[in-house]
């Protein structure tokens, strides 16, 4: 019932405003489009209503809790802040009926809490309606014969668009900030120099002082080396395969082949990475191990090579599809110009088409690298967990993303260096991919100016 009331409180003034605005405009001579006046007054009612609603929802619980805490019975008053929070949590649970009250005082507090909540529920639609009504009145007062309703509406809607576009940006900022603060806390325990340049990664912290392995070490170098190794292997697979298939698709493939092959290739990008992960772990990793053994090399049963190979296949579509688009976008006039000078098709591709498309191709490669760096599932399943500083692709290695996953899964205390290390890794990884993306963006933008 309160929900219905709430909707009514928001929408009724809006509808009223719309019809009032329209009527007013029609009455005032119908010189302009009456709908604009209606929408204007409607928006005037809608926005304050929504703003109050949002504020109310954000603050209600806090205010109710504070009021209930202030009115706690004598036996519970005057507690320190931490205890108080605990007590209020319990009070809320009792009020919701999930826990039974253990004392008279608690029961009384819960009853009070529930009553406050009830008032709030009743007051909310009223407050919203009042705000909407006030907006309506303000909008109504602005109606004059010479009022430019359309441009006012357009300004309001434009502002709404801007707010929407800010949502994604604000989320990004929020993510960065939350990671940043945890990282700062991590750096209070471990020095940045050790983190950035330390060569050993074994993120343990002791629970008891005398525990074995009590001293953890947080050198991120082996972890990033693992990421680098796997990314290099993946790109060694994806770059040639992706580029050659892009050249084939864009330049040589008959139209019918292209129509079938391109969507099929893009289908690769749609396979969930966890599926790639078990393909890597169950099929490719044993193959690599057996192949290594057959050649007389010792290969771990989980190896960087297995994970890198499968990841390379996974990012082929990023390279091939984007590069294909870029190559196809090279103007036909350039091809004709080269062919007209007596160049063969392959000379034309090598000397004119690919150089012209190079910035776009570089962009697609960098995008694929970003993808490979950030990829988690395949490496978790196929590359192992040992943080080893090695360049041998047959060894098990670990990557930044894998370490973040292992540090943050399971029960964790959020003030140990071990857990906080995950945020530091995350921030550094974010910075690396951000730089890659910026470079890619810069290159692609330069490429766009090329044919103007």
């Amino acid at each position: 019932m309160p929900t219905v009331l709430l909707f009514a409180a928001v929408l009724a003034p809006v509808a009223l405003g719309y019809f009032f605005g329209r009527r007013w405009a029609l009455g005032a001579g119908g010189r302009r489009v009456p709908g604009h006046f209606g929408i204007f007054v409607g928006l005037c009612a809608l926005l304050p209503g929504l703003a109050v609603l949002a504020l109310w929802l954000a603050l209600e619980e806090r205010v109710v809790t504070a009021m209930a805490a202030a009115a706690l019975p004598a036996g519970l008053a005057g507690l320190p802040a931490e205890r108080l929070a605990l007590v209020m949590n319990q009070v809320a649970n009792i009020a919701a009926g999930t826990v039974a009250a253990q004392s008279e005082a608690m029961a009384a507090a819960a009853a009070h809490y529930r009553a406050l909540g009830g008032y709030a529920q009743l007051l909310m639609p009223l407050a919203v309606a009042a705000a909407a009504a006030a907006g309506f009145m303000a909008g109504r007062r602005m109606l004059r014969a010479d009022f430019a309703a359309r441009s006012a509406v357009e300004r309001i809607v434009l502002a709404l668009f801007m707010v929407c576009s800010c949502a994604a940006i604000l989320t990004t900022v929020g993510i960065v900030l939350s990671v940043l603060f945890e990282t700062l806390r991590f750096f209070e325990k471990v020095s940045p120099a050790e983190f950035l340049f330390g060569l050993e990664w074994s993120p343990q912290t002791a629970i008891r002082q005398d525990q074995v392995g009590a001293s953890g070490s947080f050198g991120a170098v082996p972890v990033f080396a693992g990421t680098l190794l796997i990314t290099v292997i993946a790109m060694a697979v994806a770059a040639p395969l992706g580029l050659l298939s892009a050249v084939y698709l864009a330049e040589y493939a008959p139209r019918r082949v292209r129509a079938v092959a391109k969507p099929l290739l893009e289908l690769l990008a749609g396979i969930p990475t966890v599926v790639y992960g078990f393909f890597a772990a169950l099929t490719v990793a044993p193959l690599v191990r057996d192949g290594g053994a057959w050649l007389g090399l010792t290969a771990a049963s989980e190896s960087a090579l297995a994970a890198g190979l499968v990841m390379g296949v996974m990012i082929i579509p990023f390279v091939s599809s984007l590069s294909d688009d870029v190559i196809s976008a090279v103007p036909a006039a350039l091809r004709d110009g080269s062919l007209g000078l007596g160049a063969t098709r392959s000379e034309t591709i090598r000397r004119v088409v690919l150089p012209a498309a190079l910035p776009g191709i570089a962009g697609s490669l960098l995008l694929a690298v970003s993808r490979a760096i950030g990829e988690t599932m395949i490496v978790v399943m196929a590359a192992g967990l040992a943080a080893r500083l090695t360049a041998n692709p047959l060894d098990a290695v670990t990557t930044v993303t894998v370490q973040i996953v292992t540090l943050l899964t399971g029960d964790q205390e959020f003030d140990s260096a071990k857990t906080l290390a995950a945020f530091a890794l995350g921030l550094l990884l974010f910075l690396v991919t951000l730089i890659m993306n910026l470079i890619a963006l810069f290159i692609v933008r330069r490429y766009r100016e090329n044919y103007e």
Binding site: R335, G337, A356, Y451
Partner: protein, 268 residues
């Protein structure tokens, strides 16, 4: 006066005194649709042959037959005979790469490669191994740019991107690029259609100078341009070569009714 029937044989004289290329009975088809109907014409040494006619009359298509650029269009098929110095260009004897080096092409829209001015001109000579080392390349680049009158304008900017030049300069660069491989024939497909009158005049002068070294075939929409630059003119209509002859005669005494109608502006 020949009546306006479409399948009459070409009026006028299709032969040139000193032919460099000859086309005989050329038909071109796009898929099932025939675009060129039995066109025969000679291209003489050191002369400019202008091809005029209303849009879609097949003059560009025919032009592209002369260096086999139509090969790059899927579904495009031709029959008939085209010879260069007596060799059938569609026979096995002449490789298409060699043909295009000997019969160069300049396109409707200037299409410099996104490279430096220098590399644009040096592209063809390097490709065909005409130059060894920097000195020879420098020489051929300078010579080609000189011949197109571009040298004075760009000699200090050879390393700059060719795409930064003005439209007229770009088109002259494309001509320089074409003559850098020392072709025998140059095909020009409406080379001035995207240029302003001053740049157009510059190109027309250039065409007249180039005639001393090359045979030139130019497709144009402008009858004035055909009159100004060409020695012989061919009039195309709906895929047929209606009339061909010395330019002054075509413009003053057309033999075919369709030619006369076009020249007097009754259509086209």
């Amino acid at each position: 006066m020949v009546k306006a029937e479409h399948n009459t044989p070409t009026a006028g004289d299709i032969t040139a005194a000193n032919p460099h290329m000859r086309a005989r009975g050329v038909n071109v088809y796009y898929g099932g649709k025939q675009a060129i109907f039995s066109v025969s014409v000679d291209i003489g040494r050191n002369e400019v042959l202008a091809m005029i006619g209303p849009s879609g009359c097949g003059k560009s298509t025919f032009l592209r037959c002369l260096n086999r650029m139509n090969d790059t269009i899927p579904n495009c098929r031709m029959d008939g005979e085209v010879t260069l110095d007596g060799d059938d260009i569609y026979g096995g004897k002449l490789d298409v790469v060699e043909l295009r080096a000997r019969v160069g092409m300049v396109f409707q829209k200037p299409n410099p490669f996104p490279k430096s001015i220098y590399d644009n001109v040096a592209y063809g000579p390097r490709l065909h191994g005409l130059v060894q080392g920097r000195a020879q390349t420098d020489e051929i680049v300078q010579k080609s740019l000189h011949r197109t009158g571009l040298w004075a304008e760009v000699k200090d900017d050879l390393g700059k991107a060719a795409t930064g030049l003005s439209g007229g300069q770009q088109q002259r660069l494309c001509i320089a690029r074409a003559i850098a491989v020392s072709p025998e024939v140059i095909l020009m497909d409406e080379p001035c259609s995207s240029l302003d009158p001053i740049a157009t005049a510059r190109i027309e002068e250039l065409i007249d100078e180039l005639r001393r070294h090359y045979a030139i075939v130019i497709v144009t929409h402008s009858m004035q341009q055909a009159a100004r630059v060409s020695q012989r003119t061919a009039y195309f209509h709906l895929g047929r070569l209606i009339e061909v002859g010395p330019t002054p005669e075509i413009f003053t005494r057309p033999q075919h009714e369709l030619t006369e109608n076009y020249l007097t502006g009754r259509f086209g």
